[in-house]
């Protein structure tokens, strides 16, 4: 099937472009890849101070810093991947007008580069989990399928945004604004329980809320995820990917003409 050609015929291209993305980013900086860890760490420390010491946000019985970081990591991955993927076609205009291969390779490689960042930033979480003596259970293996579903959702949305951004560059600015609003409507810095009951439905239709709650549940509460919510999120994510892919492929023929 055409959809899977990125993982067969174009596997090497995908990995080559992903590495280019990763290698180029910090080449000119002294600390290099340390920024991938320093960035979320400092962001987390500042936010942890503000929200736990000043605003006194509840954190479900675990230190707020850890509570926050478990939500912040997948959120930062999501927003970084969307931003990178949205600009990926425009950034590769030179290639798009010269040579043919499936264009979604640019979108996916932009996302995969952020996956590598996420793994590095994860090391800080491991340190925190040990430092605060948070006991884990085997439920933590749920992180893998949850992340899988999050990837599907991210890829699907990215396909829409990247194609649309090629037609109108407004998309990348709208995205920046949209992500700020979206983050506040997702339980990243606060627990779901603090959100007004009346508006709680927002979390049900927001797959990112489902993912972040599920991560916290399986990592910090040593429990099972909410299967119902996760199931719905999986269906929504797959639909988003199918629609996104269809939309992307429909426009792909004109990419070289409009870029």
């Amino acid at each position: 099937m055409q959809f899977f050609s990125l993982f067969t015929t174009y596997r090497e291209l995908l990995s080559e472009l992903t590495w280019r993305e990763i290698k180029q980013r910090y080449k000119q900086s002294i600390l290099g890849y340390a920024w991938v860890i320093l960035n979320p760490l400092i962001q987390m420390l500042v936010m942890a101070f503000v929200f736990s010491k000043i605003l006194r946000v509840e954190s479900l019985g675990v230190p707020y810093a850890v509570f926050l970081y478990v939500g912040l990591l997948p959120w930062n991955f999501f927003s970084g991947a969307l931003a990178g993927a949205t600009g990926s076609l425009v950034a590769n205009a030179g290639l798009i007008t010269k040579i043919y291969f499936p264009r979604e390779v640019f979108v996916l490689s932009a996302i995969l580069a952020k996956v590598v960042d996420l793994f590095l930033a994860l090391s800080v979480l491991v340190v925190f989990l040990i430092y605060y003596h948070i006991s884990l259970s085997w439920h933590i293996v749920w992180v893998v399928p949850i992340f899988g579903i999050q990837l599907i959702f991210t890829y699907g949305l990215s396909l829409f945004l990247a194609a649309a951004n090629l037609l109108y560059r407004d998309i990348q600015y709208v995205l920046g604004l949209g992500l700020i609003v979206w983050m506040y409507l997702t339980p990243v810095i606060y627990p779901t329980e603090m959100f007004p009951d009346r508006y709680r439905w927002i979390f049900q239709i927001n797959p990112m809320a489902v993912f972040i709650n599920a991560y916290r549940q399986v990592i910090l509460a040593a429990g099972e995820p909410n299967y119902m919510s996760l199931g719905i999120a999986a269906v929504v994510s797959t639909s988003v990917l199918m629609l996104g892919y269809w939309f992307f492929k429909k426009l792909e023929g004109v990419f070289a003409d409009v870029v």
Binding site: K27, K98, Y100
Partner: protein
């Protein structure tokens, strides 16, 4: 395989381009409401018929804006014809604006692999040819430096060296030989002649009458997106430049 098998078949192909004036919604919406023109259309190529057999070489000539590069893009498959049909058999290597797949922050070595994979080689193939590629480019001294420190001549040499070692069945060349020093140009031409002997199909866009006359069998003369003349390279070039 049939010796006269077709590599490129173009049947009655036309390409209409939209030129959109507004790149953002902020510009687009007022233009739409004010009934200003939001886009213009023009035919970049019109009613083109062309058949290139396997192992043949053809030069495309014509003034600027006559649709030469559009035709090359159509053959490369990066843009779709508005009408008509194109069929291309065989692995294509486009030498259109060399180095599009290069990244300035990466080293020469990293860029060879990146560009090679973009042009359809596998990493294993590139590894095997790496020595030949760098020999051809004569860049051993600088191969582990970021290519942003390269001169434009070095950049071109590396890009050409990669592209020409991809073992394509069809080679598309767009005016690239105009750059680079004389000696390197000769080297490239020699390599192209070698590929011709190996039955590689070659399509060249060039403003150089000598290049077309001496290195391609056929020529296609485009004018305003349409075919003005086609046939033997010597005959068409003589008419065009005469």
């Amino acid at each position: 395989m049939n010796k006269l098998a077709s590599a490129i078949t173009i049947q009655n192909v036309s390409k209409l381009y939209y030129k959109q004036h507004q790149r953002t919604l902020k510009e687009f919406i007022p233009a739409l409401l004010g009934r200003n023109k939001t886009h213009e259309t023009f035919w970049a190529v019109k009613n083109i018929d062309l058949e290139v057999k396997k192992g043949e070489s053809i030069g495309i000539i014509g003034p600027n804006g006559s649709g030469k590069s559009t035709l090359l893009k159509l053959i490369a498959g990066v843009t779709q014809p508005t009408s008509g049909s194109i069929s291309v058999t065989g692995r294509i290597a486009p030498l259109i604006e060399l180095g599009a797949g290069f990244h300035p922050e990466l080293t020469g070595r990293e860029n060879v692999f990146l560009n090679g994979v973009i042009l359809g080689m596998t990493r294993a193939e590139i590894e095997k040819k790496f020595k030949t590629i760098v020999d051809f480019a004569e860049l051993w001294e600088f191969i582990d430096q970021p290519i942003k420190h390269y001169s434009s001549g070095m950049y071109l040499r590396l890009a050409f060296a990669v592209a020409i070692h991809t073992d394509p069945e069809i080679l598309l060349i767009d005016e690239i030989l105009a750059v680079g020093d004389h000696e390197f140009q000769r080297k490239c031409v020699t390599r192209i002649e070698e590929m011709k002997k190996n039955k590689v199909t070659i399509v060249v866009v060039s403003h150089s009458p000598d290049l077309i006359r001496e290195h391609t069998e056929h020529a296609l003369w485009l004018e305003g997106g349409e075919v003005k003349d086609s046939g033997g390279a010597k005959k068409v070039v003589a008419k065009y430049f005469g």
